[in-house]
C-alpha cells in the first residue's frame, strides 16, 4: 500500500501537526520507504495468533480509594504558557 500526499495530510490533521507544503514530498518518500519495510510483516500468517496485550503476565494492581493528591494548583499552573492564576488559558475553541 502506498501513502499519497492527501492521506498524509489527513493523518497530520488527526495528529494535530501542521505540515509544511514544501516538506510534503520528502515526507511522502520517507514514509513510503518506512512502510515498505514495515510491510514485510505481511509475509507472516498470523490468523491463529493472539495479539499480545501486555508483556507482563500479571493482573492490574490497584490502589486504595484514598485522597492523597491535588491541592497543588501553583505547581500545576507553574509551567503553563498562559494562565489566569486559576485557570489554564487557551485560544478560543470554535464550536
Amino acid at each position: 500500500m502506498s501513502l499519497d500526499k492527501e492521506k498524509i495530510k489527513h493523518v497530520a490533521k488527526l495528529a494535530r501537526i501542521s505540515v509544511n507544503e514544501a516538506k510534503v514530498d520528502s515526507l511522502t518518500k520517507d514514509l513510503n520507504s518506512i512502510f515498505k519495510f514495515i510491510e514485510q510483516l505481511n509475509e507472516l500468517d498470523t490468523n491463529k495468533v493472539e495479539p499480545l496485550t501486555s508483556i507482563l503476565n500479571q493482573s492490574l494492581r490497584s490502589r486504595k480509594d484514598e485522597i492523597n493528591d491535588g491541592k497543588i494548583r501553583e505547581k500545576v499552573l507553574k509551567n503553563s504558557p498562559k494562565d489566569s492564576k486559576e485557570f489554564f488559558v487557551v485560544p478560543k475553541v470554535v464550536e
Binding site: L3, R16, N79
Partner: protein, 485 residues
C-alpha cells in the same frame, strides 16, 4: 597522581570510602572535565553549583554505608528532575522545569549520589545517533565526527569521555545498548518492569525501560541495584524483593548454557562483527559454558514490528505536548486547533513528527488490523521464540549492533538504514527481556564493538555474572585519547 575520573565507579567509591578523595574534589574533577569537553555537546544542562553544594554536604556528614556515597552523576535528559529543566532533547520541552523527581533518579539520590547535569539525547529518545536532538549532535569521544549512538548518546559520550563516573539511559529499542556498544562501555536494559517508568518522559510505554551505563560490569551491578525496585506509582512495575547484584557478582559460569541464535548473522554484516562474535563464543566456552545453537525464527520481523508498536504508542504518548499546560506554545494561529497544529509542528523535530505520523496512521480507522494488530500478533510470536528457547538455555549471546559507530550525517537521509542499527537490540524490548551490551573489541578503524547477552525475565544477575567472567577474560580496555580538550 592518578586521574580519578579515569577510574571505574567501584574504584572511585573505594577511594571515597577510604577518604582518599573527598566528594567535593571528585565533583570538581568532573566539572573540570565537563568544562573542557563542550565540543562533545554531551550536556544539555549542568548543575555544578547544586552538585558542589551536595558534595560539601556529603563531606561534612559522610555516610559511607550507601551504595553511591558522595558520587556526582549526570543523567539522560529524559528523567524528570525536580527544579532542573528537563527537555527530552526537544524544543517542545525546552523550558520545562518539573516539580517532581523520577523514581529512578530519586533512588539514585537516596543511595548517596547527586545530580551533576542532564545529558543530551535524541528527541524523545527517537533516534540511533543522537542527531535528532534539538540541542544538536553529540560527538563520540572515540573520534571526531563519529556519532555516539542513540538515543542515550549524551550518556554514552559523557561516560566514555570521563564526564560522569556512571550514568543512566533509557532503552526502547536499543537506546542504551547501541550507544554503549559504540563507545566501548557497558549498557544494560533491564527486564521490563524492573525499573520504574514514573517520571521518565515516555516514548513507547510497553517498551521503555531505564538502565545503567557504566565502565564495567561491577559498576553496572551497583547502578542497577541502586536504581531498580518496585514502585507502586507505576502499574507495570514488578513487585519483587530487591536484589544485591553487586554483592552476588560471581565469575564462575561453568556449565551455563549459552544459546547462539543463527538468525543474528545478517546479510552484509561486516566480517569483524562475525569475528567478534566468534571471539565471544570462544571466551565463554573456555570458561566452561556450553554453547548451544538455537533458532529465533521471527527475529527478522522484530524491527518492522517495532516500527509499528513504538510509533503507535508514541503518537498517543506525545499527544500531551499541546502547548496548554507546559512547554512550548506557538503564538501563531487564530483558534485552539491552529494553536495545536503550529505548536506541535514547531515544537517537534522531523524524526519525531515522522514517527507520530506513522503511529497515527497505523492506529487509524481502516488500518488498525493491518498494522497495529498484526504487529501485536507478531510480537507474540517473537516473545514465544524466546520463551521456547529459554527452556533450553540460560542466556543468549549475539552481537549488539550490525556495525560500529558511523559518521555524523551518514544515515540521516535514509530513515530505514538508520532504523536497521537496532536490528539486534529491538527483539528483547518487544519480549521485555533483560539484555546487556559488553565492550568486546575494536574494528579496523579502532571503533569499539559490543556483544549482547540476553537473559530470562528478571535474570539480570546471571547475565551480569556472565558479563563479569567475560570482562575478566576478554582483555578489552577502552583507551580513549582526550583529543577534544
Amino acid at each position: 597522581m592518578i586521574d580519578i575520573t579515569n577510574q571505574s565507579l567501584n574504584q572511585i567509591i573505594k577511594r571515597i570510602k577510604t577518604k582518599e578523595i573527598s566528594s567535593t574534589d571528585l565533583t570538581k574533577a568532573y566539572i573540570k572535565n565537563i568544562e573542557g569537553a563542550k565540543k562533545l555537546n554531551a550536556f544539555v544542562t549542568t548543575t555544578f553549583d547544586y552538585a558542589l553544594d551536595k558534595a560539601k554536604q556529603f563531606d561534612n556528614k559522610p555516610n559511607f554505608d550507601q551504595l553511591l556515597p558522595g558520587i556526582p552523576l549526570a543523567v539522560k535528559d529524559l528523567f524528570c528532575t525536580e527544579n532542573f529543566k528537563t527537555t527530552a532533547g526537544s524544543n517542545i520541552l525546552n523550558n520545562f522545569v518539573p516539580s517532581y523527581e523520577s523514581t529512578v533518579t530519586k533512588n539514585l539520590w537516596d543511595n548517596g549520589s547527586f545530580l551533576l547535569g542532564k545529558l543530551n539525547c535524541d528527541e524523545f529518545a527517537m533516534g540511533s545517533s543522537n542527531e535528532t536532538s534539538y540541542f544538536g549532535n553529540v560527538i563520540n569521544p572515540v573520534g571526531d565526527q563519529i556519532v555516539p549512538g542513540g538515543s542515550s548518546g549524551g550518556s554514552s559520550s559523557a561516560l566514555a569521555a570521563d564526564l560522569t563516573p556512571a550514568t543512566i539511559g533509557t532503552d526502547t529499542g536499543g537506546s542504551i545498548r547501541q550507544p554503549a556498544s559504540f563507545t566501548g562501555t557497558v549498557g544494560l536494559k533491564p527486564t521490563y518492569g524492573l525499573c520504574s517508568r514514573w517520571g521518565i518522559v515516555a516514548f513507547a510505554s510497553s517498551l521503555d525501560q531505564a538502565g545503567p551505563m557504566t565502565k564495567d560490569i561491577t559498576d553496572c551491578a551497583i547502578m542497577l541495584e541502586a536504581m531498580s525496585g518496585f514502585d507502586e506509582k507505576d502499574s507495570t512495575s514488578i513487585n519483587k524483593k530487591k536484589e544485591n547484584y553487586s554483592k552476588n557478582l560471581k565469575d564462575n559460569i561453568k556449565g551455563l548454557k549459552i544459546g547462539i541464535p543463527k538468525e543474528y548473522r545478517v546479510d552484509n554484516m561486516p566480517k569483524e562483527i562475525d569475528e567478534l562474535w566468534e571471539k565471544g563464543k570462544k571466551i565463554l566456552k573456555d570458561l566452561g559454558a556450553d554453547l548451544i545453537d538455537i533458532s529465533l525464527p521471527h527475529t527478522k520481523y522484530a524491527l518492522p514490528t517495532y516500527y509499528i508498536v513504538a510509533p503507535a504508542e508514541a503518537s498517543s504518548n506525545l499527544a500531551r505536548y499541546d502547548g496548554v499546560r507546559y512547554g512550548y506554545r506557538s503564538e501563531k494561529g487564530k483558534d485552539l486547533i491552529e494553536m495545536y497544529e503550529n505548536t506541535r509542528s514547531e515544537g517537534f523535530g522531523d524524526e519525531v513528527k515522522r514517527r507520530i505520523l506513522i503511529g497515527t496512521y497505523v492506529l487509524s480507522s481502516g488500518y488498525y488490523d493491518a498494522y497495529y494488530l498484526k504487529a501485536q500478533k507478531v510480537r507474540q510470536l517473537i516473545k514465544k521464540d524466546f520463551d521456547d528457547n529459554f527452556t533450553k538455555v540460560d542466556a543468549i549471546l549475539t552481537p549488539s549492533t550490525p556495525s560500529s559507530a558511523f559518521k555524523i550525517g551518514e544515515k540521516t537521509n535514509d530513515p530505514v538504514s538508520m532504523y536497521l542499527n537496532d536490528i539486534f537490540t529491538v527483539p528483547t524490548n518487544l519480549a521485555g527481556l533483560p539484555a546487556l551490551s559488553l565492550p568486546a573489541g575494536l574494528d579496523k578503524q579502532g571503533l569499539p564493538l559490543g556483544l549482547q547477552l540476553i537473559g530470562k525475565p528478571l535474570d539480570e544477575q546471571k547475565i551480569l555474572n556472565i558479563g563479569y567472567a567475560f570482562e575478566k577474560n576478554c582483555g578489552f580496555k577502552n583507551e580513549i585519547k582526550k583529543w577534544w580538550s
